[in-house]
């Protein structure tokens, strides 16, 4: 539910990183924070459990400059991925404008990716949003693990599992070393802004 402030000529929109627990959502945000320090005036807010896992959400305000004469400010969130935190995920999804789904390339996580994507679809429905219509980008993360001899899903397998129905843009990424993290973000920003741009004419 982006907010267009006609007085300040400013748009605020909300982007959520979704996906299975341990898939790399927090790592994505940490990399974004590091890379764009100059545009991010505040610290990243992280509400964690003792075990360092996301309990509520991670939050990063992000000033992307001007689009069509409007200042654009994004709020970027992650959700906790563990199944038991479904109520929290729903809260964070409220008013979401764009979604990044971070999938874990590890073969072991195949099922978890699919369950989490289905969960995103179900939770969006609660807000009367259709996963086929909302701006969405998939990120196949942890591609680096293959080089370390850890069994990973091929991109074809990930595409078949997650994207055969959705047909949205995807990136092969390694959030740990920052590979394709910024590209993923830029893509979701451009899709989200395109969906709003009619309003900004």
């Amino acid at each position: 539910m982006a907010f267009i402030n006609l007085k300040k000529k400013e748009v605020q929109a909300k982007i959520v990183y979704y996906g299975p627990g341990r898939g790399g959502k927090t790592t994505n945000l940490e990399h974004i924070h590091k890379t764009f320090r100059d545009r991010i005036s505040s610290e990243m807010v992280a509400i964690k459990t003792h075990g360092d896992r996301t309990l509520f959400f991670d939050f990063l305000p992000f000033d992307i400059g001007q689009i069509k004469g409007y200042d654009v400010r994004l709020q970027i969130y992650t959700v906790p991925g563990q199944v038991k935190y479904d109520a929290t995920r729903r809260l964070v999804l409220r008013g979401v404008d764009g979604l990044v789904f971070v999938a874990d390339s590890m073969q072991l996580r195949r099922e978890k990716n699919m369950v989490s994507l289905k969960n995103a679809e179900d939770n969006l429905k609660l807000y009367k949003k259709d996963i086929h219509k909302i701006p969405l980008v998939l990120q196949y993360n942890k591609r680096d693990l293959g080089e370390q001899g850890i069994p990973v899903l091929t991109v074809d397998e990930l595409e078949k599992d997650l994207n055969s129905d959705l047909q949205v843009p995807y990136f092969e990424a390694s959030a740990l070393i920052g590979e394709n993290v910024v590209e993923t973000l830029k893509k979701i920003i451009s899709l989200t802004m395109a969906s709003l741009s009619k309003e900004l004419e």
Partner: protein, 130 residues
């Protein structure tokens, strides 16, 4: 999905915040939406909070408390109050989509603030309509 507020609506909202809160000694007042976007934000010039993070946390917190209300059979807790040693925070719902956050010090009494919030909420609801 998006919504827009124009100059006159936003100025009316800011006037209410200024007159009902800031001029009476409240440190900072924000009107946010439930997605965590900031609609209006004024402070007394002496305090500076990270309002973007504050709005994100407030929207999440309010959602969490609403979910708790449902669990105990309440429709909602329409206002929340957190008291600190020097700063206190008051949250109040404005329609189903907005939240008013007020941060104030010891010099402002809670009773007085609640009165002001109730008045302001009525005015905001007129502007924000539905």
């Amino acid at each position: 999905m998006e919504y827009a507020l124009d100059q006159s609506q936003l100025e009316a909202i800011e006037d209410i915040i200024r007159q009902e809160f800031i001029e009476l000694g409240v440190h900072c007042t924000c009107l946010i939406d439930m997605a965590g976007n900031i609609v209006a934000n004024l402070d007394d010039g002496k305090t500076s909070f990270d309002v973007y993070s504050l709005a994100a946390l407030a929207a999440g917190n309010f959602g969490a408390v609403s979910a708790m209300a449902n669990m105990v059979g309440e429709q909602e807790f329409s206002l929340l109050f957190h008291k600190g040693k020097t700063e206190s925070i008051h949250f109040s719902k404005v329609t189903d989509e907005f939240l008013l956050i007020t941060i104030f010090g010891k010099e402002t009494s809670l009773g007085f603030l609640r009165l002001k919030v109730a008045e302001a909420v009525k005015k905001f609801e007129k502007i924000l309509g539905s």
